[in-house]
Amino acid sequence: MSSLGELRNLAVRRPKGGPRVKERHPDDKAAYLFLLPWLLGLVGLTIGPMIASLYLSFTEYNLFQPPVWTGLDNFAAMFGDGRFWNSFRVTVVYVLVGVPIQLALALALAMLLDKGMRGLSFYRSLFYLPSLMGGSVAIAILWRQVFGKEGLVNGVLAWFGVDGPGWIGHPDFALGTLVILNVWTFGSPMVIFLAGLRQIPEAFYEAASIDGAGRVRKFLSITLPLLTPIIFFNVVLQIIFSFQAFTQAYVVSGGTGGPADATMFYTLLLYKEAFTELDMGYASAMAWFLVLVVAAFTAGNFWLSKYWVFYDD
């Protein structure tokens, strides 16, 4: 079961009512010893920093002088800053365009590859490879050339007599090249879909065949409903991770977020505020706003899931 499924179970399946059986904890001592490294990390590197950055978001802090409490100034400055809203818009477009295309492609190929076809494992590996490498600097460098003025894409367009622009350097297309790069890494959700397809009992399809259902009907009435928990899981996680995309935008734009801030991702602006401008308070405010946005998207997804995700429990 997926991590998200587990979380859902923890939330949904509360301890049953009735006289509460007292849980026994025979392993307390050993357990906390085993958990010691994780607990230290949780307190020192996760919860502590979360609180610290919440505090810093209400201060002005440049690493060298002690933080000065400024109340909501950072947030006011942020919400009044056109550059902030631009980075927010760019990121939301990247997420809302890229994630659905990536997942649709992943699902389509998983469907195509399912049914134990010959060469399944070869194709699966081949399609998975970009997922592994897609986040690396080398691939971002490659992308700059593929979508450059004299790159591969324009080389293909030239066959058709089209003189393509320098996609990376064009404000209208630069973001699109990053969306395509994200779509290119559809392999990992595809592998998850493939695993999900394997879980659907063959008996369902047999019963449907006896009732005279065709391929389309089987897909719509069996495959798709039974796959919805996995689609949901992929949607939630890909949205969360896409909001945090950084390396590709940084490298493809040469660290500028350009042209004309067209690829100035939220995380890129945040990084610049923190480590170029040394405005740690403002960066912390941005980070907390990001957490709230991601949480809102996730909560929205859970709320919407009531209407389309099918759980058989």
Binding site: F34, G44, L142, S209, Q244
Partner: protein, 298 residues
Amino acid sequence: MTTDTAIPAESRAPQRRRRGGSGGRTLRSIGKHTMLAAFSAIMIYPLIWLLVSSFKPNSEIFRDLSVFTTDLTVENYANGWDDLQFPFGVFIVNSSLIAFGAIVGNLFSCSLAAYAFARLRFRGRRPLFAIMLGSIMLPFQVLMVPQFIIFKELGWLNTVLPLIAPKFLATEAFFVFLMVQFIRNLPKELFEAARIDGAGHFRSFFQITLPLIVPALATTAIFTFIWTWGDFFGPLVYLRLPETWPVSLALKGFLDAQSSSDYGSMFAMSVVSLLPMFLVFLLGQRFLIKGVATTGIK
């Protein structure tokens, strides 16, 4: 249990195929394979182009975009290796160090935590487990500034420690979850037998659990390698001195320095940086794909 569900997934498909048999089937199958082959070619072409271009003279790379050429040279590799302030080998050693430290750290800390979550009954298990799962989804940007301050105060800037030490504290909860899944599926009887024989939790961890979760440990090691080898953000924040750079920052150095438009050597070093990832992928793809399928994270 019905026979249907007992048939493993791989073997059930041919049966279905036989039932639906008709003349159109072969045609459809040919169509499908053609489509897949064409799609694969488009997807993989950029990678092959990168590889071939890294062996082409600079003047040829953009003049001829095809991958069919006889005019090959290793000159780019020789040039690229020494193009930056330090030979590329230095960056490879730095990346290897970070990857090695991260792997050891993740194996150590995540397996301990996973054992507790999967096998032990203790106060606060449910909420702690939920926190652990939730932390996978927490945007790291919210931790970035305070963690930077901590490591700066410790005097760890321009060392690999900020990239390695957190792994010894199981900060990559994804791997804890992966191992929990694995340990839960081990037969309970083993642990009971060990307990009856007088083994405590530490023996049961070292002598029973660890040897049995080797596949999960391998998956963890492989993913950790690929993520840390390719990681850009952590090094960008913590490693400012060129002699401390891993390959990811060195490649960025190529971009920054690129006035001469020496694409050949940049491509050559890109290939060098991808090669270890590719080899690990080839050797460990079974573990990788299983890991993705069971935890649902790339």
